[in-house]
């Protein structure tokens, strides 16, 4: 279609467009070119475009024409560009190009300035970050012609939390830049009614901020929204007079134009000067209203911090409370966001939760695996956790997420020493743990270090949350709490070992205080029994912290420095027992857990084979490994011959690999294995090396593969195992493999590292010299340590490897020629170790 063709629809179009313009010009001339006039004009342009759309030859691909920017808002001024998005459902071809020409050419012929963008729907699947103005214009998108459903699909793709957050950030930057160009003042003698501070762009920006963050924001602002609307109408009326006179998109209210505009807008006054003054004083009044509204919006707008969550001055809010009410799975996120941003959950969000919480069951709050992970993450002890859990409790959420907790709400137990209701006592234990996480009090730092060393501190909080739920009944509450916790942990689908640990902590939460305060902990037998009961250092750390905060939450007077000291001593003695004395306690026929292990054996293993394998291993072995792992080890040790090495390498967590090695003991064995792992860049974080009297060695290492060698290379798995076999059997030398890697380690040493600690002890164990080593963790550290031990002619019999952040904590049980080391040999070894550690770290 062309306008030059007489008798076609073209002349109708010209006529229609002229009529629309004339009407707006007449409005402007009467000083009435405000919002209503502009909307009428926009509607007429809409009709024109719809006509053009239906006249243009058809597109095979579904298409929609969408108004953007000011035109999208229906504020189309006389000389404004008509901003359009022509959106196709998919890739376009010849027919669509023909359609575009048919649709756009007549507009150009009319002399209309069209700002058009042609896009395919999937262009909006990714956020375009190079054109913030275009994204802003898209916020005003309004369907004009074509397929409505296509427009709806565009909206769904475009309006995401991430896009909104990006646009908001860009908009705030654009405002600052624009204001800077006007020296950041609205009091301009010749203001630009579109761009100046307080003018139309600021007004739109104010509404955009509200739209992106909190639609009700402006209603809470200092200015009546009606006054903002009046300011807008005024600015638009002024702008219409400017466009009318200039005949182009001219928005500066210059001195010349001020007289003309004052006349058109009908300001009274005998002298032009008086009329101009009245106009300008109105202008500044309106501009000030706009500026205040924008300032308010900028200050008060919630910052998007998660799905449907905003951070505002009164805390975390649901951006859309109606949506939030329907999605209980997003509620935990509000409390998480509050902790992350060191704020609270807003009263409004809390009432929203309170109002709707009774409609949902526990599972509704964590339906997906990600939600369950998020719930556990919420329980990480750190500043703000107690406050947030208390808020959750007050608004009824905690008791819905954990109905078991509801049973102890406001529960009073009269026992003459507890000072608070059971629920508050429980929350206070968590507050105490949270305080330990940040304490700098000298007598408390030791406990903070224990907390830092716990791999999953959220499990301690989970155990604390549930440790007294059994108090809804009057009898033995620890047993009842454990019974109730089984259901909770089942719903959370906690991993088996984590579940066992939490249940252990709940069931035995009174045990450590009983032993520490009521038993003679100077009696080695008491410590030995407690160590056997607790099993591992990790559980010891967790129960110790739990005991401390539980006693402290009974009343302000209950935990005295005296009790703290008793608890600490039991902790240290038990820790030492677990790490240093376990080598003396070998598996016995009647040991707990052994019966079950033997009875439930898989078909391919006989009782005799398992018994033979366990013979001479420390009792601790049964506590360290789950049944399935033990059966795997038995298989690994089967039919082993000198110079053979049996290996298994598997992934045991998102970032953790486990290597199990069974072989017969030989010199440098342990250091060779460590060396091979280090040569592949593996970072050993935990491990156990065990030897039995027949010379069978079982080494189990857990390591992280920080360079993702195993993950990214399909051959890597096999390669690591082959190199291990060759090195352990003596066919390859690990020193050569490590050369390049060690250079790297030396270069990478950091200034923040601390002095290593090495201590040899002949007292702790009846059979071994114990060497405790605490040093900065580094790749190859274990290799270097164990090489020194072998170089000194010592045999590595048992090893415990642990890392706590930057620190490596290794305990070696060693002998020389089958006996403990002499004083001189200890001296030689420790100084050699210190030289190596200090020289290379």
């Amino acid at each position: 279609m062309s306008l030059t063709q007489p008798g076609s629809g073209g002349s109708t179009l010209v006529t229609a467009f002229d009529a629309a313009r004339s009407e707006l010009e007449a409005d402007a001339l009467r000083g009435a070119g405000g919002r209503a006039a502009l909307e009428r004009y926009a509607d007429r342009v809409d009709a024109m475009l719809r006509q053009l759309f239906s006249d243009a030859s058809g597109s095979d691909v579904p298409v929609a024409v969408i108004a953007l920017g000011g035109y999208g808002r229906r504020h189309l001024c006389l000389q404004s560009d008509i901003d359009l998005l022509v959106l196709f459902e998919r890739e376009i071809g010849k027919a669509e190009e023909r359609f575009l020409r048919g649709f756009l050419n007549p507009l150009w012929d009319l002399g209309v300035v069209v700002g058009h963008q042609v896009r395919e729907l999937n262009d909006f699947e990714r956020l375009e970050t190079n054109n913030a103005e275009f994204l802003l214009a898209l916020l005003d998108a309004r369907p004009v012609a074509g397929l409505r459903s296509l427009f709806d699909r565009f909206r769904t793709l475009f309006h995401t939390a991430a896009t909104h957050a990006y646009i908001l950030k860009s908009l705030l930057e654009l405002i600052d830049q624009r204001h800077a160009a006007f020296n950041a003042t609205l009091y301009q003698l010749e203001p630009d009614v579109k761009e100046a501070p307080g003018a139309l762009r600021d007004l739109t920006a104010t509404r955009t901020i509200a739209m992106l963050t909190d639609p009700l924001l402006l209603r809470r602002g200092p200015a009546d929204p009606a006054r903002v609307d009046q300011a807008e109408d005024f600015l638009l009326r002024v702008r219409s007079t400017l466009h009318l006179d200039a005949g182009r998109n001219q928005n500066v209210l210059s001195h010349d134009m001020q007289e003309r505009t004052a006349d058109l807008l009908g300001y009274p006054g005998a002298e032009p000067r008086q009329r101009v003054e009245r106009l300008m004083s109105d202008y500044f009044r309106h501009a000030r209203i706009v500026t205040r509204a924008l300032d308010w919006a900028r200050k008060s707008a919630p910052l998007p911090v998660g799905p449907n969550l905003g951070l505002s001055r009164d805390g975390i809010r649901f951006l859309d409370p109606i949506l939030a009410a329907r999605n209980p799975a997003t509620w935990i996120g509000a409390f998480q966001a509050a902790i992350d941003h060191h704020t609270e959950v807003s009263e409004e969000a809390l009432s929203c939760v309170q109002q709707h919480v009774d409609r949902y069951r526990a599972d509704d709050f964590f339906p997906e695996a990600d939600d369950r992970v998020a719930l556990l993450r919420l329980l990480t002890p750190r500043a703000g956790l107690y406050e947030r859990l208390s808020e959750m409790h007050d608004c009824g959420l905690l008791g819905r997420v954990f109905p078991e907790f509801q049973a102890i709400s406001w529960r009073v137990v009269r026992d003459f020493y507890h000072k608070y209701t059971v629920d508050e006592h429980t929350l206070l234990t968590i507050r105490n743990l949270e305080r330990i996480s940040t304490t700098t009090a000298p007598e408390r730092v030791r406990y903070r270090n224990v907390l830092t060393a716990v791999a999953e501190p959220e499990l301690v909080v989970l155990a604390l949350l549930l440790h007294d739920v059994g108090k809804w009944r009057d009898d033995d509450h620890a047993v009842e709490s454990e019974r109730m916790a089984v259901d909770v942990l089942g719903r959370l689908q906690l991993r088996g070992d984590a579940r066992d640990t939490v249940l252990f902590l709940i069931r035995h939460h009174l045990r450590m205080s009983l032993v520490a305060f009521r038993r003679d902990t100077e009696d080695p037998e008491i410590v030995k029994n407690f160590a056997a009961f607790i099993g591992t250092e990790e559980r010891l750390k967790m129960l110790c912290l739990m005991t401390l905060v539980d006693v402290e939450a009974v009343s302000p007077e209950t935990l005295t420095p005296w009790k703290e000291e008793l608890l600490w001593r039991l902790y240290v003695d038990t820790y030492n027992h677990l790490t240093q004395r376990y080598g003396d306690e070998l598996i016995e026929r009647n040991q707990a857990g052994l019966d079950e292990l033997l009875k439930q054996h898989p078909d391919d293993l006989s009782v005799a084979e398992i018994t033979r394998f366990l013979e001479g291993l420390p009792q601790r072995y049964l506590q360290l490994f789950a049944r399935e792992a033990i059966y795997r080890h038995v298989r690994l040790a089967r039919d082993i011959h000198p110079d053979e090495v049996h290996l298994s390498l598997e992934r045991s967590g998102a970032a953790i690999w486990t290597l199990a090695v069974a072989t017969l003991d030989k010199p440098y064995l342990f250091s060779n294995i460590c060396g091979v792992l280090s040569s592949f860049g593996m970072n050993i974080i935990r491990g156990h090396a065990l030897t039995n009297p027949n010379g069978l060695v079982l080494d189990v290492f857990q390591f992280t593969d920080d360079e993702r060698f195993l993950e990214l290379n399909p051959e890597a798995h096999q390669q690591v195992l082959q190199v291990l076999e060759r090195v352990v059997s003596g066919q390859a030398d690990v020193t050569n493999l490590l050369r390049g890697r060690e250079q790297g380690v030396l270069h990478a040493r950091s200034a923040s590292r601390f002095a290593p600690v090495v201590r040899a002890d002949n007292e702790a164990s009846g059979r071994y010299t114990i060497v405790d080593i605490v040093a900065s963790n580094a790749i190859g550290l274990l290799y270097r340590i164990s090489r020194v031990i072998s170089r000194q002619g010592c045999d590595v019999d048992l090893v415990l490897i642990a890392t706590e952040g930057e620190k490596a904590i290794d305990v070696f049980h060693i002998t020389k020629g089958g006996s403990k080391l002499t004083e001189a040999e200890q001296q030689a070894l420790t100084s050699d170790l210190l030289r190596t550690l200090e020289g290379s770290l």
Binding site: F517, R519, W562, Y575
Partner: protein
Amino acid sequence: MKLIKCIIRPNKVDEVKDALAKLNIAGMTVTEVRGHGKQKGHTAIYRGKEYNVSLLPKMEIEVVVADNMADDVVKAVVQAARTGEIGDGRVFVLPVLESYRIRTGEKES
């Protein structure tokens, strides 16, 4: 009257209290204290580092009894608190010059 002051192991408090109850002694003061005698503390080691434990946690029990009860009380305490190891504690017997009941202000004999 005598003030009998017993420094004992923390885990022996219940046994000592029971022993005193058998002698019909109801009033007592129990305090958590720290100190050392001949035992002089010891060196504890945690993760290869030594730290000195010079003051050990103990419990102090104080009772005031009639002069003629003092010997029995001391015997009962010693019997209940003894383990035979270093660090079992001490019992001190002190004369009490006067004693007043605060509620009534009356002097006790």
